[in-house]
Symmetry: C2
Subunit: 292 residues, 2 copies
């Protein structure tokens, strides 16, 4: 007998076995959406859960995503969908699983996972050259709402995550982006769900695009999203930064990093995305360019 | 009539069509090896060439890799192999292709590509917060040899690439790593081949592991390698840095960045890899840890 999941994220990422060992049923939750479309990190998390289940026979201890790379081929709608899994390799310390999220016979997202065991004690010793993010105390930060008066769209996932952004990075909301191409904030689940490896896969893609800190732009569709889970976070909200490193030819990259309350870098993501800034230019028209 | 390729890299990445439109023949070149095993970036470059050929009908202008993520499942031997391609999506500005490198019926590497057109003029306007790498002038740098007296192994690819490392980062060769977890140098093809997007995929994985700058370790096998090609480089050697950001639980990440002579960041890679440092510890025993 399994206890019904208590948290929104667990309900929304429920993965159900079928008669076919490599096929799983899911329901894409309308609550994990931005502008009516399912959030990319949420879709990776659902697939990651299926990947762990796909290894139940071949590598039962490899339940946690250590690395994932997702390719977004089509945007699925809220509602029923399937995940097909292919175990590429069942290894000793890590295994690889490819997943396809399919709706109405169409592959919407293909994600490949490196699976392993992300242990709480994995980093009894660790090293990093990345300093823990400096940002304003959480109580001085601004919680991003799911809807704002006058806004043309809803950010439904902001009811699921509690994202509090550093006031210093909110110039873009007044039409005055700071021009650093970076956004910082505190992030956690709105209903207090503890943050585990699957939760990290979702949270790593829950920030607004960092390009808003450069210039106004249209939709920033992800081409490819890679995430690394480095450690199980200590309890509490994560410090997170999303930053753009290069804007070139209508393409941007974004790096996302998350530190837990102990100052440990627990997760990293990098993505390549398309962008069209206002005025039809391929680079931010108002940003203080380092070069050009 | 095609002119025979003149450069080593073009010969080594030759991809031959077969009667099957989704199957290509290749020959894994013994010259692009480290410790007798084919270099990971070289294998991605071969697959990337096949991915471009696989789009000849559906998206003929999408010949260049914009992004790639490779999963290494088994190490292929030099000699004949096949690449099977699956076009996941043929889009307007970008397409996605999955490739499987197969030898003796076994999938050795699975790589998924975002393909497009990396134009020389793509970045008439561009922005970056990443400053071009500062390193010693090329003539003061040290060319990494393919074999060294007393060394237990050959770095065969160092005859194919001309990698000149900054003397400040060579302490590890004397048993005195600087402890920054970073290596800098100038890189180009040894035979003067111009650097194009396929060449970038290879060069992004040609550096030694940055962990040598922390502590002595064994082999550092890549679990997952993602690369982004951002622009066509101007002629000449690239400035490149390979750096470790986090060592945790026997797993490291490494970021690699390449700038061309104009100061433009033309390529980026990130990888997750396993590492075992000397003395059996999970973190570098002698490195100046930021934490712990």
């Amino acid at each position: 007998m399994s206890v019904p999941p208590a948290y929104e994220f667990d309900l929304a990422t429920d993965v159900r076995s079928t008669a076919e060992a490599t096929s799983f049923d899911i329901t894409i939750d309308a609550g994990f959406a931005v502008l009516g479309k399912a959030n990319g990190g949420y879709l990776v998390a659902v697939a990651g859960r299926a990947a762990g289940m796909a290894l139940a026979e071949a590598a039962p201890t490899h339940r946690d995503p250590m690395a994932s790379t997702a390719h977004y081929l089509a945007a699925p709608d809220p509602g029923p969908a399937q995940i097909l899994t292919t175990v590429l390799r069942a290894g000793r310390s890590a295994s690889q699983v490819r997943t396809a999220l399919i709706q109405d016979g169409k592959v919407c997202v293909e994600t490949t996972f490196t699976m392993g065991a992300v242990r709480a004690d994995g980093g009894a010793q660790w090293w990093s050259d990345r300093r823990p993010l400096e940002l304003a105390p959480r109580e001085e930060c601004f919680r991003v709402p799911s809807r704002q008066e006058g806004a043309p769209f809803d950010l439904t996932i902001m009811d699921r995550v509690d994202l509090r952004m550093d006031p210093a990075d909110l110039g873009f909301t007044r039409g005055e982006p700071a021009g650093r191409g970076a956004l910082r904030g505190w992030i956690s689940f709105a209903d207090g769900r503890p943050i585990d490896p699957l939760g990290l896969l979702f949270l790593l893609d829950a920030f607004p695009p960092a390009t808003v800190d450069l210039a106004a732009s249209g939709w920033v569709p992800t081409l490819s999203l890679s995430a690394y889970v480095r450690a199980l976070p200590t309890p509490g909200p994560l410090r997170m930064v999303q930053r753009t490193q290069v804007v070139d030819g209508g393409i941007i990259d974004e790096v996302c990093e998350a530190w837990d309350s102990s100052g440990r870098l627990v997760a990293q993501a990098t993505q390549l995305a398309s962008v069209r800034f206002a005025e039809g230019t391929v680079a931010p028209p108002s940003a203080p360019a380092v070069r050009r």
